[in-house]
């Protein structure tokens, strides 16, 4: 410590590190159903407290309670469960494929499945997401073929992106999924721009931007909030707070602010925090914000409180920086199990049917995988050509690239 009267640097630290016992008891978790649901045309100044609370629907007994419980039907919820289970199985298989050397890299969603799967179902056709690398649920829940995802991951001859992009950096325009950039934060402002364009054209389509807790520190987060606020762009700005940014705990990006949602208050935006492991809550809050945007009432900032159960990517090993058991201690539980339990309570699901569904889904994923692997994997079988590498830099290949392609002998 510094002498009295001397300055010293404060560096935030997570409360536990490897070797310590995880403890989330200091994280205040409001009771499910306890947070009010304002009308979508509410004056943002009246709901500042929502940035410091957590909107939750599913209680411990698996019941959906309170004003945000929503109106999803049994079928819709069963479908939601299936989407999350599919994503989880997809992740498991692709992680394994990476370990088998079939691709170079993979990033999983374990623990965060509800966020992208539920959000997707609140959108309309034509709406556009600007996702990060951890929202593949938008594709799964949007009906994008798994085999195309795998073809991209394998960089094989059927890869829709011709082998040009790192695995999982999907692009699927027709499914409302913007080309993922590996650069953090850049797409948050692009989402705002897309939404502004829709407003300029008197369209009805809205945009959704996505960003991680760590990436809110990036400057383009600010650009997005400034532009969204100034032009009241029809955009939903989503922060997925999974507590970690690679090895860095969320306190480094959040600093002295109570929550990430609170960042929106300085821009006069409605800012909501929601239990990101609660499919119903995510869907309901997403609906609210999307309706706001569509009714030209402007942008909404949403923080999804969740937890990154797995490693950051296949290049990462979290046991070096957090206790292995931290995810078990995470107080918001597992999104798949919580929705499963709710459906059982609702009387439309059972442990058996769940097991059966697991088997079916594994089958589906494996079938897709076999299909994809017929087109090759990164280091074997069919692959995009060297010509593909030279094409698509511009709409028309300029002379210097033609010369280079020729030099390359293709």
């Amino acid at each position: 410590m510094a002498e009295a009267g001397r300055l010293s640097l404060h560096v935030p630290e997570p409360e536990v590190r490897p070797g310590d016992t995880p403890d989330f008891s200091h994280v205040p978790i409001p009771r499910a159903g306890s947070v009010e649901r304002p009308p979508v045309d509410v004056d943002p100044r009246e709901i500042r407290d929502l940035a410091y609370s957590i909107i939750r629907v599913l209680n411990r007994d698996g019941e959906a309670v309170g004003p945000w419980a929503g109106t999803l039907s049994d079928e819709e919820l069963l479908e939601g469960l299936r989407h999350m289970m599919t994503l989880r199985t997809f992740d498991a298989r692709m992680l394994m494929a990476q370990r088998q050397g079939k691709t170079s890299f993979y990033m999983q969603h374990m623990g965060e499945e509800a966020v992208s799967c539920a959000f997707r179902k609140a959108l309309e056709p034509g709406d556009m997401n600007f996702p990060t690398y951890r929202q593949a649920g938008l594709l799964i829940a949007g009906g994008y073929p798994m085999v195309d995802m795998m073809n991209q991951i394998y960089s094989n001859e059927a890869d829709p992106l011709k082998g040009r992009q790192l695995p999982i950096m999907y692009s699927a325009r027709d499914h409302g999924f913007f080309s993922i950039s590996g650069n953090l934060g850049t797409q948050f402002i692009q989402a705002v721009g897309w939404a502004m364009a829709s407003a300029i054209k008197n369209d009805t389509r809205i945009a959704a931007g996505w960003i991680g807790d760590g990436s809110t520190a990036e400057s383009d987060f600010h650009a997005a909030l400034v532009f969204a606020s100034t032009y009241r762009a029809p955009v939903v700005l989503n922060i997925v707070n999974n507590q970690w940014a690679i090895s860095t705990f969320q306190g480094i990006a959040r600093g002295g602010s109570g929550t990430f949602a609170a960042r929106g208050l300085g821009f006069g935006l409605p800012a909501l925090r929601v239990d990101g492991n609660d499919y119903l809550a995510v869907h309901s809050v997403a609906k609210w914000a999307i309706e706001r945007a569509r009714r030209n009432l402007g942008p909404t900032l949403i923080e999804y409180v969740t937890y990154r159960v797995g490693a950051h990517s296949t290049s990462d090993d979290p046991s070096a920086y957090r206790p292995k058991t931290e995810s078990d201690a995470w107080p918001l539980g597992d999104p798949v199990i919580r929705l499963k339990n709710h459906l059982i309570v609702r009387g439309v699901w059972s442990e058996e049917r769940h097991k059966q569904a697991e088997a079916e889904i594994l089958d589906e994923v494996i079938t897709a995988q076999k299909q994809a692997e017929q087109h090759g994997t990164l280091h074997s079988g069919g692959k995009p050509s060297t010509r593909d590498m030279f094409e698509g830099v511009y709409a028309t290949m300029p002379p210097h690239l033609r010369r280079q392609r020729q030099q390359a002998g293709v």
């Binding site: 080309s179 897309w194 502004m196 210097h400």
Partner: protein
């Protein structure tokens, strides 16, 4: 045909493009109500409404990032960065996003945006109103880079750039906005009204991207120049009497290599001129290409006359600026080599 200044020609290009295509939108700092600090967008908001021409917050990354999103939607944003010196905060959006969007999405999303910015020195603007950052863009695959040197070209190239399906960096030599400047700063400046290339059609036309133009025919040495330096090179040729062929590159990326090679094949000598700092300037690429493609025709090394490798100074502007004297000396020297 009407005569226009560069500013009027640039404004007219946007006017024509906005009139023909509802998807063309124009925005930037001070661009809307006021019409831009150089007045290049004056009147456009009034004519096309606030949704199509508007002021933005001062965030260059935001301006470009929003434009990319709009382009992905289907618009054709033509945006202004107030000075090229202020483009760096947007560099990530340009390099990592705009330039690669078509490629990485395999054409699902494209990025037809134009980023206009006043460039170059000669106005005592000091280090933050004088820079020439073109080489920072010519290194980036996926971009096109344009530098007009006169009103006719400025309008035709800008319309072509707006209609182009890919992102274009459009650098406007601010020293030329109101008249062709030949670097003789101690002499009275002429206005565009007296220059033939200020004759600019009112309506739609394009000057295709990727084509250079010979501004002065000559047989002794080829001078490669763009923007303000086109006039400096011409003045240097007149001043020294060296029979220089002056090529106005107009588009730096993609480059019109054929025109260059044809000329150097004829003259056997080459001088490259630009305002930007020497090291890793666009002149390096030009010199490299010329020696690659014309090696056996060259009778002397390709010389570069450029800004020095210092930040752009204020008081010493005319020591820094590669004026007709320095260019002329190079012409003489390359002839003696």
């Amino acid at each position: 045909m009407p005569r226009m200044t560069m500013i009027e020609a640039i404004r007219s290009a946007m006017d024509v493009a906005m009139g023909r295509d509802e998807n063309v939108v124009v925005f930037g700092e001070d661009v809307g109500y006021f019409g831009g600090v150089f007045r290049c967008t004056a009147g456009l908001q009034q004519k096309y409404g606030k949704s199509r021409c508007f002021d933005t917050p001062i965030n260059e990354s935001g301006i470009v990032g929003a434009a990319i999103g709009m382009a992905a939607y289907g618009l054709r944003p033509c945006i202004e960065v107030q000075f090229a010196d202020y483009v760096y905060p947007a560099y990530d959006q340009i390099v990592s996003e705009a330039a690669r969007l078509r490629y990485r999405s395999n054409g699902q999303f494209t990025c037809p945006i134009v980023i206009r910015m006043p460039t170059g020195g000669g106005i005592f603007g000091g280090q933050t109103h004088s820079q020439s950052p073109e080489a920072l863009f010519t290194h980036v695959a996926g971009l096109k880079v344009v530098v007009p040197s006169n009103p006719y070209d400025a309008k035709g190239l800008l319309i072509a750039a707006i209609e182009d399906p890919d992102p274009v960096i459009f650098l406007e030599p601010k020293r030329l906005y109101n008249g062709p400047f030949d670097g003789h700063y101690e002499r009275p400046v002429t206005s565009w009204a007296k220059h033939p290339l200020s004759e600019t059609p009112e309506g739609h036309y394009t000057v295709p991207l990727g084509r250079a133009e010979v501004r002065r025919e000559g047989s002794a040495v080829t001078v490669l120049a763009y923007g303000t330096m086109v006039y400096v090179a011409q003045a240097a040729a007149e001043d020294t009497g060296v029979d220089a062929e002056v090529i106005d590159l107009r588009t730096l990326l993609p480059l019109d290599l054929d025109t260059i090679v044809a000329s150097v094949g004829k003259t056997g000598r080459c001088v490259v001129v630009h305002e930007a700092t020497l090291t890793s300037g666009f002149g390096a690429e030009l010199a490299a290409l010329v020696q690659e493609h014309c090696f056996y025709n060259l009778e002397a090394p390709v010389m570069r006359v450029t800004g020095w490798d210092t930040p752009y100074p204020h008081a010493q502007e005319w020591d820094y600026f590669p004026g007709p004297k320095r260019v002329g000396e190079a012409l003489v020297q390359v002839m003696e080599a």
